[in-house]
Amino acid sequence: MSATTTMTAKGRLLNTMSRSGAINVIAQLWPWFFLIVLVVYFSATGTGFLTIRNFGNILVTSTLVLLMATGQTFVIITGGIDLSIGYTVGLASVISATVMRDLANSGNDPTLAIGIGVMAGLGAAIIPGLLNGVLIARLKIPPFIATLGMWGVVRGAAFLLTTGKNIVGDLPADVRSELRQIGNGSLLYRIPEEGIVWFKQPADLTNVQLRGLDRLLPYPVLIVAVIVIVFAFILARTKFGRHTYAIGGSKEAALRSGINVERHLIIIYMISGLTAGMAGVLHVFRFTAGSPLVGDPVLLDSVAAVVIGGTSLLGGEGRISGTVVGALIIAVLQTGLVILNVDALWQFIVVGCIIILAVLVNQLQSYFESQKQEHQEEYA
């Protein structure tokens, strides 16, 4: 190997970083580090940040982005993107709220109405996913364009179903109270000065106690945690997940290995629709109403969560665990800024900067990789 006599400090640093693989460690860990720094910062400078209630809030708030981002992770790993999920969330919430309301109003048992409403919402959400999949995998339309078109279609459909209104909110009272049991409920409560109660919020609480009530294991968080863990498992350990990475890494390699790429991609976009549908249905449980407007403002956040978590927009790499950190960073940021009384609009600037940082780290990784490659080729 040729001796390098005059190397600049920068050159030496780059050399060491590239050889030691340090960049890969940094790339994997920096989102976690950033999250911890954010939490520490807000805890130190904001009153009421470091409380169980606030952390519970953060987790519950993050469920919407996290669900959307989970499906989006699969899509982005295959080298695609799904812009339509914002309104798919809305569509699912509208359909499930409408079905619940109409079934309950025509005399059906509220629990049954809710159950069927859930199925209807989820089922409806898969349809845009299926259409996206066919447009992209079979008709070879670029994902950005196909899902942009579907964005418009789903938006129209969602508003048509509400006859232009922003909300489907007139669910009967018994349905609403059942919905709240899950949407607002928790597996574990801590009642101030009384201790811990499982499963049900006691009916006989004083106002003081109600204000101090801590929901320690909110159902929405538990449900979303289970969903996310299941999808993370599928992506990391199963044949389906392996093929997802393969398609993202080299569509040709996947095709020539005999993988049915077309069918796989259709399923991927259906998964994206499904998770968006879950988010929409969850919204109905939390707010006892459906709205076409629920998911769209959060669409870019879902992509941001995926990118911040280390998934490359070019496809082929990424993990759900990273997406989780990304979603948490966004939720912590939003909550923290509110507690600090900083104009919440700053969050957009901060999130934007973090995304750029995430992409830069990714680029550095690729750069070092290619440098290492050249080095090896020369001296192989």
Partner: protein, 254 residues
């Protein structure tokens, strides 16, 4: 050496392929017998890769038939063709660089085990170990099998592509420019592999521009020019000059 009395393992009959107004292949006939190495030569655009892709199922021939071991594979998918025992190593290797050696060797045919006795998951350890066995047998050294392919050198990646072809008990191996990206020692290893395949009775079709490779390893040379088969020369009659003349045209001079 091929047994001329045996039936051909692969038979390509009158195959043509068009891309719009372009004739990539025109009425090509070809036969491959067990235990021989056949080289397909031709200039760029002669149709070599197209022919191979018709055999391996990536393209569907517009005219003619392709028969393998008695099966009509003219319309088969790449999956079906692999199932029948034809393994193809493409010029661009068709490897997933974001996955490791084991994952690539087993791509599309992943070995699974049961998680908690119930859920099928990929058995990465098994796939890695099996790949290691073949790599050792072929005397190819890859330091860590857990690394993604993007970290490996060109020669190592080529080796992985070959291991993938070998692992699945190929009955016919097709190689498109196998030594193109390799250094000299690795080129020799690849050619040794080709010979050992032939010695095991597995025929190899090798597309190559490299005359030395072809002269060293092929039993028979087939030349394509502008989509047509223009010559078929056994090793005993072949010289570099004759082959080049066929490739470039001007065989009227011979």
């Amino acid at each position: 050496m091929p047994n001329p009395n045996a039936d051909p393992l692969l038979r390509v009959e009158g195959v043509s392929k068009f891309f719009g107004g372009l004739t990539a292949l025109h009425q090509v006939d070809l036969e491959i017998y067990p235990g021989e190495v056949v080289a397909i030569l031709g200039d760029n655009g002669a149709g070599k890769s197209t022919l191979i892709k018709c055999v391996s199922g990536v393209y569907k021939a517009d005219e003619g038939r392709i028969l393998f071991n008695g099966h009509d594979i003219t319309s088969s998918t790449p999956h079906d063709v692999r199932e029948l025992g034809i393994e193809t190593i493409y010029q661009d290797l068709a490897l997933a660089e974001n996955l490791d050696v084991g994952a690539n060797v087993f791509l599309g045919k992943e070995k699974q085990k049961r998680f908690l006795g119930l859920i099928p998951v990929t058995d990465d350890e098994y796939m890695r170990q099996e790949s290691a066995k073949i790599l050792n047998r072929l005397d190819i050294h890859i330091p860590s099998l857990r690394q993604k392919l993007v970290r490996l050198s060109g020669g190592q990646r080529q080796a992985v592509a070959i291991v993938r072809a070998l692992y699945w008990d190929a009955k016919l191996v097709i190689m498109d420019e196998p030594t193109a990206a390799l250094g000299v020692p690795e080129q020799r290893k690849v050619l040794a592999l080709v010979r050992s395949l032939r010695d095991q009775g597995i025929p190899v079709i090798i597309i190559s521009h490299t005359m030395q490779d072809v002269m060293e390893v092929a039993d028979r040379m087939i030349v394509l020019r502008r989509g047509r088969k223009v010559a078929e020369v056994p090793r005993s009659e072949a010289t570099v000059e004759i082959l080049v003349t066929h490739i470039v045209g001007g065989s009227e001079l011979l």
